[in-house]
């Protein structure tokens, strides 16, 4: 060992100790750091490691289906493919967005905008849907390339499909991508989700939607899914069986082709709507796919307003279909007798104003006045009864207020009163207003559904029901018509006579083996025309034509139904709306005679 010392420089002894110190220091520093990371903050890092690996993803719940009253499908779900991005898995977002633009042909600026818009609404490590409804071409392209683009995901979502498209467009409405307000208002909605926007899809959203499930995914660093297990099972939305009959609805829609208007068929005994058609319709599937700006403009600028459900969203002056109600009110008065005759010379004078009847009927009693729709008779009733009684009675009979059907945007129509006129026009109610009111002209506006409901009540013995669209809902909120039994019977008979009698205005409706009653109406249009070319006389002529009304009921041994048809600018009620209802009765009552087996084979 002495030799060793000789060999070393004196400083090397010191250096050796220093090196020993280095080893000790290495041990202490690294060991302390290990302790800090693994023991002191171990739980924290364990959580971080789990966050790396585990992701949660929603499982889409299938939306409830729509079926008609026989169980035939009206709206189904089909898979649709959307392109989504997981930001945290995407190394180069700018480049990836460019690639997505290349795949889908969507302009890059739009994609950037969409990405910026959505990123606030999507949590980290969740799919942010950028492009919905990929076409099959795009899908195959993306699927082949996606492995080279980490973060890009193809997401399968259920998508709504309306099998009959425009036939049911106003009843079902449509779903479309939830917008920002809807997303903000409803915590159950995620970016890229569809939500009901109109019709039953809107009104029954909470029932139809169901609840999303949750699954936990184990992923690797590139976001590849290794394992998954379901934490919460999705709950599918409830299927809805409509009271509507698919065949009837389709038939009516085809009958109404080329006409603008509305038809409502109601089961008078239950208040269930059997058909609700508004024409023109629109293809509600377009909204699901994401409607283009041009398609939207076309729909909105179409003067026939295809988006509007005319049976509840438009109110029209009732014209002569108001007369049964007037007659009923008169019958409720002890001072007025139905047998009393009034002479109709074709006009009626009030002060120095002359009110016209559509023809000179001679001496008419109440029954004849209804059957032949004599205005003069009702002018004198209007003068006798006055606005206060008429409007109160109308409201109680279900006009001028919402029926409460489960559809959005229902109009209440209008039954004018003195106060209303003073407020609206700053003018007193005048005698002439009473006369106009009596024949359903002037300010009064009703919806086709309100008229159907009233007709149904006349047919079913005086019960006003809240119209229902669902098969399980029957006789909702019954309210009695404020009509005495005799009144009801009288009106009922008068409406039958209108069909059966030689001079009845609704003669067209006569149907074998079925008791049919009706009342026509021809409502004068005092409305601004939509824009049109001044030099197109045909167009001008169309927009000035009267609206044609026909309310009707049909009764046989096993059913009582009420039907209303309104044809906008159709001319007279009898000639324009008559054939429509005629077709409906033919369809309903001739189909019924077929054997059930034959009917089943037709499906």
């Amino acid at each position: 060992m002495s030799l060793l010392r000789k060999r070393s420089l004196p400083s090397e002894r010191l250096a050796f100790n220093f090196l020993l110190f280095l080893v000790g220091a290495l041990f202490i520093v690294i060991a302390m750091r290990l302790w800090f990371l693994q023991v002191y903050k171990g739980d924290y890092y364990l959580q971080k490691a789990q966050d790396n690996v585990q992701r949660r993803q929603h499982i889409y719940a299938p939306r409830g289906l729509f079926l008609d009253r026989e169980g035939r499908l009206l709206a189904v779900n089909e898979p649709s493919y959307s392109l989504a991005l997981v930001r945290e898995d995407t190394p180069d977002i700018e480049k990836t967005l460019k690639q997505i633009s290349r795949w889908t042909g969507m302009p890059l600026e739009d994609l950037n905008k969409e990405f910026e818009r959505g990123r606030r609404m999507v949590r980290s490590f969740e799919n942010q849907i950028l492009v919905s409804n990929l076409s099959f071409d795009v899908l195959t392209r993306v699927e082949t390339d996606a492995p080279y683009w980490p973060g890009v995901k193809v997401v399968v979502q259920p998508r709504r499909k309306y099998l009959q498209g425009e036939v049911f467009s106003h009843v079902l409405g449509y779903v479309a991508l939830a917008n920002e307000q809807e997303l903000a208002a409803d915590p159950g909605l995620r970016l890229g989700d569809n939500v009901g926007k109109h019709g039953l899809e809107f009104a029954m959203e909470s029932v139809l939607r169901g609840k999303k499930g949750l699954k936990q995914l184990e992923v690797d660093a590139s976001g590849r899914i290794l394992r998954e297990h379901t934490l919460v099972q999705p709950e599918s939305g409830q299927d809805l069986h409509l009271s509507i009959d698919l065949d009837l609805q389709t038939h009516i829609y085809s009958v109404m082709q080329g006409k603008t208007g509305a038809v409502v068929v109601m089961d008078a005994d239950s208040g269930q709507v059997l058909a609700m058609v508004s024409t023109p319709g629109y293809d509600n599937n377009k909204f699901v796919y994401g409607i283009t700006g041009r398609q939207w403009t076309e729909l909105v600028e179409n003067p026939h307003r295809p988006l509007r459900n005319r049976s509840i969203q438009n109110a029209y002056p009732p014209g002569s279909v108001f007369k049964p109600l007037m007659a009923a009110l008169a019958l409720e008065q002890p001072s007025i007798h139905p047998g009393e005759q009034v002479f109709c010379s074709g006009s009626y004078r009030l002060g120095n104003r002359v009110f016209r009847c559509w023809q000179g009927h001679g001496r008419v009693n109440m029954n004849r006045a209804l059957v032949e729709s004599c205005d003069t008779y009702f002018y004198q009733l209007g003068e006798k009864l006055g606005v206060d009684r008429i409007s109160a009675f109308s409201l109680e009979s279900g006009l001028g207020r919402q029926t409460g059907i489960t559809l959005p945007f229902e109009r209440s129509g209008l039954i004018p009163t003195r106060d209303w006129k003073r407020e609206r026009f700053n003018d007193a109610w005048r005698g002439g207003d009473n006369l106009n009111l009596a024949i359903g002209q002037g300010f009064t506006q009703v919806t086709p559904l309100q008229m159907t409901r009233l007709t149904a009540a006349i047919a079913n013995g005086g019960n006003l029901y809240r119209p229902s669209l669902l098969l399980e809902e029957k006789k909702l909120d019954p309210q009695p018509l404020p009509w005495k039994k005799e009144t009801l019977d009288f009106i009922y008979q008068a409406m039958l006579d209108t069909v059966e009698k030689e001079r009845g205005t609704a003669r067209r409706l006569r149907t074998k083996d079925v008791k049919v009653g009706g009342k026509t109406g021809t409502a004068q249009v005092v409305r601004l025309m939509p824009e049109h070319k001044e030099d197109d006389p045909e167009a001008v002529e169309y927009w000035l034509r009267h609206h044609a009304w026909l309310i009707s009921f049909a009764v046989n041994e096993d059913k009582r139904i009420a039907v209303t048809a309104l044809v906008e600018h159709g001319g007279s009620g009898s000639s324009a709306a008559g054939p429509v209802i005629r077709e409906i009765y033919d369809f309903i009552f001739s189909r019924k005679q077929e054997s059930p087996q034959a009917a089943a084979q037709d499906d």
Binding site: L3, L4, R7, S8, L9, S11, E12, A15, F16, L19, L20, L22, V23, G24, L26, F27, V29, I30, A31, R33, L34, W35, L37, Q38, V39, K41, G42, D43, Y44, Y45, L46, K48, A49, Q50, N52, V53, E88, P91, E218, V219, D220, A221, S222, R224, L226, R227
Partner: protein, 368 residues
């Protein structure tokens, strides 16, 4: 050449540590080369390659032990020259991986001259210093500096900053051990820190971002800070007892980058926890201590300086690699000896140990 005496004086403790560390390394690589897809696990054959390299390394180590290390004095300059030539060759004909031109292909196998130069520079420095029996003056230091700086610049040029700094630190370590003239050392203490900031301008951009992201890894968690963050998560999530062999999610699911090379220790830390990591650390420290004691037992200063060089060779690697994995130091591509995958570096590790064993087994021999 080798007699019974030598075998008797074999440093068995050192050999045992070597085998243990290497075995741990291969075992850990087995886990690190696996990744899970679905329920299945796929293996890439890093661990088996490493095993082959280890065997080749063991043979090389044995060859190194066969002859008296003092013969290296005669070879020192030649070996040094050859490795410099090879480094220049790499510059012209090397193959590049990840943009760094470090490998020289020999047809069936490729190797890194930058690893070889570590050995040759070490031996040459030890040889020169062993003949100087006084603290280094300015001239001596200049000589050593020139010997060191040529390979360092060539290696950094590749670019391989880690290896370059390694050579510099290794030689610096030997020089410090040997001792520097007092006045000179005072001057250096002032001058070197002054020149450090200049180094910034020699760094590549990716090296600068690495340095910056070390200072604040959260600034770019998916970019350059990713390695640092994920590595700490891996080690930290191991907890006290670890997640178990092959059970590390960070490594198996590939959140850890470079998990079989520079970040192999984080795989180990994740799967074996604090308990395992501290044992591995302890093994390294005992290993380093063994090298130091051999340096003290060596029969001449050349042998002792070789051991000090080898000590620094391992010390810096352990320090820098563990420091990097644990987030104490910026990301520098330095492997952990015996644990990280790497053929040439495994070879060099074995040869380095061979040198120490050589010195150790001949500690009682007198000049022949």
């Amino acid at each position: 050449m080798i007699d019974r005496q030598l075998i008797l004086h074999m440093n068995w403790a050192m050999l045992a540590l070597l085998v243990l560390l290497f075995a741990i390394g291969v075992l850990n690589l087995y886990s690190a080369s696996a990744y899970r897809i679905g329920e299945e696990t796929t293996l890439t054959p890093f661990y088996s390659k490493q095993l082959v390299w280890g065997l080749v390394g063991a043979v090389a180590m044995f060859l190194i032990m066969l002859f008296d290390y003092r013969h290296l004095k005669l070879l020192a300059w030649y070996v040094y020259a050859v490795s410099l030539i090879l480094l220049v060759c790499v510059h012209f004909w090397g193959t590049s991986i990840y943009g760094a031109q470090r490998w020289l292909s020999l047809g069936f196998v490729s190797f890194q001259p930058s690893e070889m130069v570590k050995i040759s520079a070490l031996i040459l420095t030890a040889y020169i210093l062993s003949s100087i029996e006084r603290p280094l003056n300015f001239r001596d230091l200049g000589k050593i500096f020139v010997i060191a700086i040529i390979p360092v610049l060539l290696v950094i040029k590749q670019p391989d900053l880690g290896s370059g700094l390694m050579i510099l630190f290794l030689i610096g370590g030997i020089v410090l051990y040997h001792g520097i003239d007092k006045k000179l050392s005072k001057v250096l203490l002032v001058l070197i820190p002054l020149h450090m900031p200049l180094g910034w301008f020699f760094l590549h951009d990716y090296q600068k971002t690495r340095l910056l992201s070390f200072l604040d890894p959260t600034q770019d968690p998916l970019g350059s800070g990713y390695h640092l963050i994920q590595s700490q998560i891996a080690v930290g999530s191991g907890g006290f007892w670890g997640k178990g062999f092959m059970e590390g999610t960070q490594s198996q699911l590939r959140f850890l980058p470079e998990k079989h090379t520079d970040f192999a220790f984080s795989v180990f830390g994740e799967e074996w926890g604090f308990a395992g990591a501290i044992i591995l650390l302890l093994l390294f420290c005992v290993f380093l201590y063994q090298i130091l004691s051999v340096s003290q037992e060596a029969k001449d200063r050349f042998g002792s300086l070789i051991c000090v060089g080898v000590f620094f060779y391992f010390f810096w690697q352990v320090l820098v690699n563990m420091g990097m994995v644990l987030g104490l130091l910026p990301v520098v591509g330095i492997p952990l000896p015996f644990i990280s995958y790497g053929g040439t570096s495994a070879m060099v590790n074995f040869i380095m140990v061979g040198l120490v064993l050589n010195v150790s087994m001949r500690r009682f021999m007198f000049k022949s």
